[in-house]
């Protein structure tokens, strides 16, 4: 069953400024990722200007959605393993070490896109997430993302 609280809404305030999914970034995309059984899920409706060529979704936006859904899925996976309750316990924050996107066919612009994530590997600070993006029930892109627990220095360096 799909959880009713997005993992991004449980990130600490200082980790919630991401352009793709931070609830405190007022300019951003605001992607929200949910636990859904053994998988993870998110939906996103591109804006009219998120075009590659007219009628199709910009590939960089697709990579962005995979980026945030991937790190969100890694956080969900870490909570599952450590038996953390998002919203009560602090949620571990992941960053992207690598992202590979395969654009299988043009993604039509107009309406909601569906993202699905599956944990392929989880070992120490590293989580590998496989994802699909679908439009109207048809998979248009696939991705694999290697997430690593955010180095503490990323906040200390401020």
């Amino acid at each position: 069953m799909m959880e009713n609280r997005a993992i991004q809404d449980s990130y600490a305030d200082e980790l919630s400024h991401c352009y793709g999914c931070g609830r405190l970034n007022t300019h951003g995309l605001g992607l929200k990722s949910y636990s859904d059984g053994e998988e993870t899920a998110a939906v996103f409706e591109p804006r009219h200007y998120h075009t590659a060529v007219p009628g199709f979704v910009y590939g960089g936006l697709i990579a962005s959605l995979f980026d945030c859904h991937g790190t969100g899925s890694a956080a969900i996976a870490a909570c599952r393993v450590r038996k953390l309750a998002p919203g009560k316990d602090p949620v571990p924050r992941f960053v992207t070490a690598s992202l590979k996107v395969d654009y299988l066919r043009p993604t039509p612009l107009g309406g909601q896109l569906q993202l699905r994530g599956r944990i392929k590997e989880q070992k120490g600070r590293k989580v590998v997430v496989s994802m699909t993006l679908s439009a109207g029930g048809r998979v248009t892109a696939r991705a694999e993302l290697v997430a690593v627990a955010m180095p503490e220095g990323m906040l200390l360096q401020r």
Copy 2:
């Protein structure tokens, strides 16, 4: 020597609506890629809200810059091989088949980022481009992009 006309400014009007680099997309990033000797080059200054965590550039934006600089580099490479003069001859338009980004270290936010591209393989309709992204002279991310000539159907499907 660096050309003084961006390849994106030579795309046909109907192919110039890309969110990342289309001159007719008023909401977009407006990336511009240039031929530079045997390589390709672009610069981009992220906006203050293009954050991952405060102080660092959003990974999805980095993927977007690689996406557009990669397809732009493929177009530049195609013009070189076919001896086309951008601005006079029609410029071939490429789309991304796959994009792999390795985030080597956090990219500091504030100031210009430099993109460099190099043609790794060029065969028929396919061009493989290797790229780096640097901040303050230090490479923070690498990418490899497989570009293919845009299928004609992408415009005909409108």
